[in-house]
Amino acid sequence: MNGFTNFIDYTIGIFPQLLKGMSLTIQMTVLSLILALIIGILSCMFTISKIKVLNVIAGIYLSLIRGTPLMVQAVFIYFGIPAVLGIKILPFHAAIIVLCLNAGAYLSEIFRSGIMAVNKGQMEAARSLGLPYGVAMVKIILPQAFRIVIPSVVNQFIITLKDTSILSVIGCGELMKQGSLIVARNFRGFETYAIIGAMYYIVITILTKIAKIIERRLSNDKS
């Protein structure tokens, strides 16, 4: 019993600091995901475009991101690039850049697969009615692709949220970093990391639940 109250007291003691970390984690996640959605859409458009140059640009971007670990990308952007250019980047900014480039690449592939999953006949039917390619895309293909990709997009959101923890290596004060700082001070790794794990778990579970509700609502009305 003594151990338990001890644990509760400890948790309450470090909680403000962890909460600060969590708040930064969420800020990083939200900000980078908003940017990643834009990058993902652009990159997807580049990929399916009929213009060769755009295909190549998107191809290089996707293969670079997918072919290197997130941690390497992070230290490269935070330590590598500033060293050459003689500039200084804040850890927070570097983290956002890395995360949005990373998630953007995966979202791009998710979007592409969603568009490919829409039956070819849909585009043909739209075009046969005289709709130009762009209009057919926006009014017929994308709404259907959107429904298809929601689960994968939510999944990517969760992955990005978890990936923020890797960015503790560049000194971003997010949740994981705050935990490491505490442990470095008091060596109580077991409790501290358990609490951090629980905090990630709770946030991600809530996110998953919300996503399920959205998904159900969208698939409810039709087909």
Binding site: G121, L131, V135, Q144
Partner: protein, 242 residues
């Protein structure tokens, strides 16, 4: 008046030559049925008439518009060519009404009000007035195909292309779709129909065209083609399907 004029049309997919020089003229109000074994190129031919397939060679002229000419506005031309697909291809995220209204409103052929009125009239004509607010998934195949016909007609095309419109239907639903098509033909619509329904071809077609191996092998009135086929391949085919 000539509605469709095809001269020496060629189409290849890579090295595979699917159409090897097709010539055809369709007059206003004429109903032409394309028959032939699968792989004979009849669907590809049909899809070249609104350039859903890129044309590899030859000339296709629809309503005096040369589809193969540089700078021809294919979207504008397609507005006057309705098409009905084997798999219906209704838009599943839109209800029946929205499916029909989308193109006329977007292409500014009609205002929303006009398009709605038109849609109601068309749904009535295909016998689906009460399904206006349903989604395609809640309709039977036959109903979906009738909506697809209404959707194509909403653009007020003067030519209709049918690509095996009854091949994906359960047998008991074939009749209702053919009924709609017969009515359309009787109203004077210019129609090109790829079909396996020999009964329909015999009854409705002004001209039957038998295709095989990328060529038009034989053509004539239904009486000529079905009653007295001259070509050996036509005879073989008809023996198998009749």
């Amino acid at each position: 008046m000539t509605k469709v004029k095809v001269e020496n049309l060629k189409k290849n997919f890579g090295k595979l030559e699917v159409l090897k020089g097709i010539n055809l003229e369709v007059k206003e109000g004429e109903v032409v049925c394309l028959i032939g074994p699968s792989g004979s190129g009849k669907s590809t031919f049909l899809r070249c008439i609104n350039r859903l397939e890129e044309i590899s060679g030859g000339v296709v002229i629809v309503d005096d518009n040369d589809l193969t000419a540089k700078g021809s506005n294919i979207n504008k031309i397609r507005e006057n060519i309705g098409m009905v697909f084997q798999q219906f291809n209704l838009f599943p995220h839109l209800n029946v009404m929205e499916n029909i209204m989308l193109a006329p409103v977007d292409r500014k052929k009609m205002t929303k009000e006009q398009a709605r009125e038109k849609a109601v009239t068309l749904l009535d004509a295909v016998g689906l007035a009460e399904k206006a607010l349903e989604y395609p998934a809640n309709l039977s195949g036959g109903q979906q195909q009738r909506v697809a016909i209404a959707r194509a007609l909403a653009m007020e095309p003067d030519i209709m292309l049918f690509d095996e419109p009854t091949s994906a239907l359960d047998p008991e639903m074939v009749g209702e779709v053919l009924e709609v098509m017969k009515k359309l033909a009787a109203d004077g619509m210019t129609m090109v129909v790829v079909t396996h329904e020999m009964g329909f071809a015999r009854e409705v077609a002004g001209r039957v065209i038998f295709m095989d191996g990328g060529y038009i092998v034989e053509e004539g009135t239904p009486e000529e083609v079905f009653g007295n086929p001259k070509n050996k391949r036509t005879q073989d085919f008809l023996n198998k399907v009749l």
